[in-house]
Structures are given as C-alpha cells and as structure tokens.
C-alpha cells in the first residue's frame, strides 16, 4: 500500500541499474540524509553527538569495512581493531610529520597505509581458509598493537603509549565543536558508503561474491583468486583504517594501542552479524544496535534496580552485557542469519501488501 512500485516503469538501462529504483526509496533516502545533515546538527545536544552519533558513524564505517571482507568476499577476519589502530596511528603520524597537510588527506593516506598492512596480512588467505584464516588474522590483532607500543616512533615516544590527536583542520577550517566533527564524519561515511554500494554492484563485487560462495568454482570460471582476495583485504582495510583515524580524531581525541583490542574486533564482528552479513545497510543497522544496546541496558538495569529497590553488585551491568550480547548473537544466527537488514526487507514486503494478506 505505502511501498508499491506499481506504475513505475523503467524505461532505460540506466533507470534499471539505479541504486534506488523506486520513488519511495528515493524519498526515504532524501529524508534520511536531510535529517542526518540538517536536522541533527541543529537539534542534537553535544552529549548525543559525542557519545552516540559520532561513535555510531565511526563504527558503521568499520563494520562496513569488515562487511566487505567477510560478508562479500567471505574472508572472516578477527583483526578489525588492529587495522583501525593502524589507521589511527598512521593519521597521527602523517599529521605530526607533515603538519600542514589537511586532515582529510591524512585520513586518506592513513587508509592507504592500512590497506597495505591489510594486504600483507591477507597474504595467508591465499593458502588457508575458514577458521584457519580467522585464527591467522588474530596474529594481526596481537602483533600490531604490540608493535605500536614497542616502537616508540609510532607514538612519538609518548611514555604511556597514549597519543593525543591534533585538532582536525582542513585548509584553515578547524573542526572544533561536536557538531562540526559530526558533520565531517557523516560526510566521509556517507561518501564511502556510496562507494561501497557501487563497489559491490561492480565487476569486482561480483567476483568477491563468487569467491565467497565457492572459491574453486570461481577460479574455474576465470576469476583471479589472488587478486580478488587481496583487493578485498586492501579495500576492507582502507575502510577500517579511515574508521580508525576517525575513531581517534573525531570520537575519542586520545587513544592508545591497547585500546584496539580483541574485544573491539569482536564488537565490530557482532555489528555485522546482527546487522546483516553481506549488506551495506546492515552495517549501519548493526552499528546502531551495538552502540545503543549498552546504553539502553545500563538505563534499564539501573532504573529497574531503583524501582525494585535492589542494591546492585559491582559489575552486574558488564555481566548483563556479556549475557545479552552473547544471547543476541546466538539468537540472530539461529533465527535470522541475515540480520536486521533482512528484517527490514521483510517489513518492506509487508508494507507493499498491507492491508491485504496477499
């Protein structure tokens, strides 16, 4: 009823290939972008921007990167946080050594650096697969933070390993308020999401999916496995690297290598599992879900304890987080392996028919 494509004819190949083929989708996306770009910077409080919206966008980008690798190219990685660390520290060093460079250029260079590191750690994927590869990516997860701590040059010889990021400056314009930083992050994320969407519809994206579904078969039909897998690692790491740079610059302001631990990698993996493996929108939905859930749980547990007049033991919230995260992952993988993105699709189907049953 509300979401019906009847009467919208595609009269050219261009229209047929459009990202948003239906009018309703176009309206929806325009509304979302208007809200994100105009309404939120005006209306949202600084708390919302710094504690929820910016991390949400940063994590979306990291999840998007992981999703390209795991969801589209089928290579499971447990080293996302390490690649984010590379991005964060690379951006820091580019800004430090070349102070006049616009922040945006540093972010791109940080992404490229991460891509190179990612390709290096992706080389084993040519020989090994599945869990073996997942375990191998753990090598990156342990090696990179260690290296960043050990080699003082990376942290500019800060004794604690903590770096404090420089102000984000592009051609003299300083992004000094949460709203400005939000705006910058949003622009980068929106642009990269569009690139990702087009990438997975391209020749390369189809090659990724072929490799994911069965790499031997893909090889037989003439896809170059090595190139495809390494590009997947490179592109995914680029996204993670930029996300890491934004994580340091726009979200936290000061980071240390040990902050990019296995827990963070798992958190990003959970985002794509819950959001939807192999779905661009799923990355965003999952990131929103995982960012909001701890805050929501915190409120529910504390309010609940207050109402019931219970005194909470220390650490109950973190225990509940473990339980709820674990339970949700199990639940989603069993009940809806394609995640929230699939639920949204089902909802669209329903909206199309509503109020009729068929």
């Amino acid at each position: 009823m509300f979401y019906r494509e009847a009467g919208q004819f595609k009269k050219s190949y261009k229209e047929d290939q459009a990202i948003l083929p239906i009018l309703q989708d176009k309206i929806g996306v325009v509304v979302i972008l208007l809200i994100a770009f105009v309404a939120i910077p005006i209306l949202a409080s600084d708390y919302w921007l710094t504690a929820i919206l910016i991390p949400f966008l940063v994590f979306s980008l990291a999840a998007l990167g992981l999703n390209l690798l795991t969801g589209y190219a089928g290579q499971l990685s447990l080293g996302t946080a390490a690649f984010m660390a590379v991005g964060a520290f690379a951006a820091y060093n580019f800004e430090l050594r070349l102070p006049y460079m616009p922040a945006l250029v540093s972010f791109v260079l940080a992404g490229l650096t991460t891509a190179i590191v990612g390709i290096a750690f992706g080389i084993p994927s040519l020989r090994i697969r599945g869990f073996y590869l997942a375990v191998a990516t753990l090598a990156a997860q342990f090696f990179i933070p260690w290296l960043l701590v050990k080699v003082g040059w990376f942290t500019n010889y800060s004794s604690s390993g903590v770096i404090t990021t420089q102000p984000i400056e592009i051609l003299g314009f300083v992004f000094d308020s949460p709203a400005k930083r939000y705006f910058l992050v949003l622009s980068i994320v929106a642009f990269l999401a569009l690139v990702a969407k087009n990438l997975v519809r391209s020749n390369l994206g189809r090659a990724w999916m072929a490799v994911r579904d069965m790499d031997v078969a893909a090889e037989v039909i003439g896809i170059k496995i090595m190139r495809t897998k390494l590009i997947a690692f490179g592109v995914s790491s680029f996204y993670c690297g930029v996300a890491g740079a934004l994580y340091a610059y726009a979200y936290l302001g000061s980071v240390e290598p040990d902050g990019f631990n296995l827990d963070l990698s798992f958190r990003i993996l959970f985002m794509i599992i819950i959001g939807g493996i192999g779905s661009i929108m799923g990355s965003f939905l999952g990131a929103a879900f995982i960012t909001l859930l701890p805050i929501f749980l915190d409120i529910v547990i504390n309010e609940g304890a207050e109402i019931l007049n219970l005194k909470l033991a220390a650490g109950v919230t973190s225990i509940m987080q473990l339980l709820v995260f674990g339970g949700l992952i199990i639940f989603f993988l069993i009940v809806e392996p394609l995640g929230l993105a699939r639920l949204w699709q089902i909802a669209k189907e329903k909206l199309r028919l509503w109020p009729f049953p068929h």
């Binding site: 499971l76 375990v135 339970g327």
Partner: protein, 308 residues
C-alpha cells in the same frame, strides 16, 4: 647448553598446558565439524564452578568436582541442543560465529553465578623446582641430573595429567563401543547415520567429554594462575597450537602444544631481548602462520580436496 635444555624442557611442559585446552577444541571439531571458540569460556566456567562450589556452597573438594562435572555436562548438552542443533547444515563460518556468541554468554553466565572475584584454586600440588619437592619428601636428589632439577613439579604433574587424559581418551576412542561410534561419526556423518549410529546421542556425548576436558584444563590452569576472568584468554593461547597441529587431530594437539610451548619459551629467551620483550603474545601466532603457509592443513590435519 644446559641452560638451553632447561628452557626447552620448561617450554615443552608449558606446551602441555596448551595441549590440554587444545584437546577440547579438537574433540568437538572432529565429531561435529564445529570450531568451538567457546572452549576457553568453558574452561573458565568449569574452574569458576569448582572454586565457587567450595567457597559459596561449602562443598568439599570431591563434591565440588562432581558438581562441576555435572554442570559441565549439562552445559555441553544444552549447548549442543539449543545452540548448535538448529544450525545443522549451516556453513562452518556461521557455526564458528555462533560459538563466539556462546563465549560471551558462558563468560557472563559464569560470573553471574559465582561473582567476579578472583579465587585461588588449591589442589595441593607444589609449585616449586622438583629438587625441592623431592628433598622435602626425604628423597635423595643426587641421582637427578642438574637440568631436570629445575623442572617445576607443578608443570610435571600437569604433564602427567595431560598424558593420562590423552591416554584415557585414546582408550575410550579405540576400545569402547561409544568411542568407535564417535570415530565413525567423525569420519562421515551420513555413513554413520546409515549404519544406525544415533548422531544426536553421540554429539551429546562429545560435548560432555569436551566439558570434562575443559574441567581438567580449568583445574590445572586455575591452580596455576588463580581463577579469574583472564582464564578465558587461555583459549587464545591454544589456537596457534590448533592451527599448527591441525584442527582434527588429537596427536596434533599434543605435538602442536609441545612445539608451540618450546618455541615460545625459546623465542622469549633468545629472540625476545632484541625486541624489548613481550613477544610471547604474538610469537606463537606468527610461527603457526608461517607454518601454515607451507602446509595449510597443519601438521596432522586432514588434507582437504575441493570439488566443484
């Protein structure tokens, strides 16, 4: 030279401790093709239950042991029934990811039941060089070569426990009826089903056995390092062992453990100083990774043949 030997023996014995954890992974992987990332959490759960039952419920040691064993079996069977049964025939990567979720859940559950305190775990095993233990027992240590005197009694007993466990498992697999059924299932699910082996029962048994192995590992590691949350990271130590030895081989887990343990200690002593120390967190991974580049299925793993 004797210093080298000392380091080597220390490493080998430490490696046995890794094997102990790796065994649990192998058992489940062999029988059901699931790479159970939650094994580390199960080790933690087992150790915490054991000490928790003594501290909070006032159980004597033997009762705590039986109690935690029963709980581990229940946990294993429930996991199989609730979490993995609905996912039969899903791609292995989904199964792997679901066990990551399970890891979080089991960690949370263990702490919910027994609290977040760090408990000491006392098994009455001396943690000192073996020469001292022997002297205390009134034995003459002159006959023992110097290299062996420095061995930690605890490590030695852990090695004996691991050896016994492996022997017991081997006997269980080779001789008993259930063991034969287990091997049949590991070989080929469908063929096993067609000759009338009850797959569901077998899986329940495997998970129970894995729970038992987790309990043994939990006790040894808990006695070593105290029962605390960091115990879950023991699993991360076992992973390089697994990829080196091959996921589906019990001897692989043992040999892999020995190699990784020895390499790690040797690297720490001989290579570590050049890097400023702390290399043990990644060295095992990198070593296993380099090995995988040469032999992608690990030392003893089954070679995979792909067909389109």
């Amino acid at each position: 030279m004797s210093f080298f030997l000392e380091v080597l023996i220390g490493g080998l014995l430490a490696g046995i401790m890794y094997s102990l954890v790796a065994l649990g992974f192998v058992l489940i992987y062999k029988a059901s093709g699931v790479f159970n990332f939650a094994q580390g959490a199960m080790v933690f759960f087992a150790a915490l239950t054991f000490v928790g039952a003594q501290e909070k419920l006032g159980f004597p040691i033997w009762a705590a042991l039986i109690f935690s064993l029963i709980l581990m079996i229940i946990l294993g069977v429930l996991t199989e029934k609730v979490v993995l049964r609905p996912l039969v025939n899903q791609p292995p990567i989904s199964l792997f990811m679901v066990t990551i979720g399970l890891t979080f859940f089991v960690e949370g559950l263990a702490q919910l039941m027994w609290g977040t305190k760090v408990y000491p775990l006392e098994l009455g095993i001396p943690d000192e060089p073996i020469a001292i233990t022997l002297t205390r027992w009134g034995l003459n240590t002159d006959a023992v070569p110097n290299v062996l005197k420095e061995i930690n009694s605890f490590d030695l007993i852990a090695a004996i426990v691991a050896g016994t466990l492996v022997a017991a498992l081997a006997i269980f697999f080779q001789i008993t009826r259930v063991g034969r059924a287990l091997r049949a299932v590991a070989d080929d699910h469908q063929a096993a089903l067609s000759v009338g082996i009850p797959l569901k029962t077998i899986w329940a048994i495997v998970w129970s056995v894995a729970g038992f192995v987790a309990l043994v590992a939990g006790l040894m590691w808990g006695a070593r390092n105290g029962v605390q949350f960091a115990l879950v990271f023991v699993a991360l130590k076992a992973l390089p062992v697994l990829i080196l030895g091959g996921f589906d081989s019990v001897p692989g887990a043992i040999v892999g453990g020995l190699i990784i343990g020895a390499l790690e200690k040797l690297a720490e002593v001989y290579i570590g100083p050049y890097f400023g120390g702390g290399i043990e967190i990644w060295f095992a991974y990198v070593a296993a990774l380099l090995f995988l580049l040469v032999r992608p299925e690990g030392l003893f793993g089954e070679k995979q043949i792909d067909r389109v």
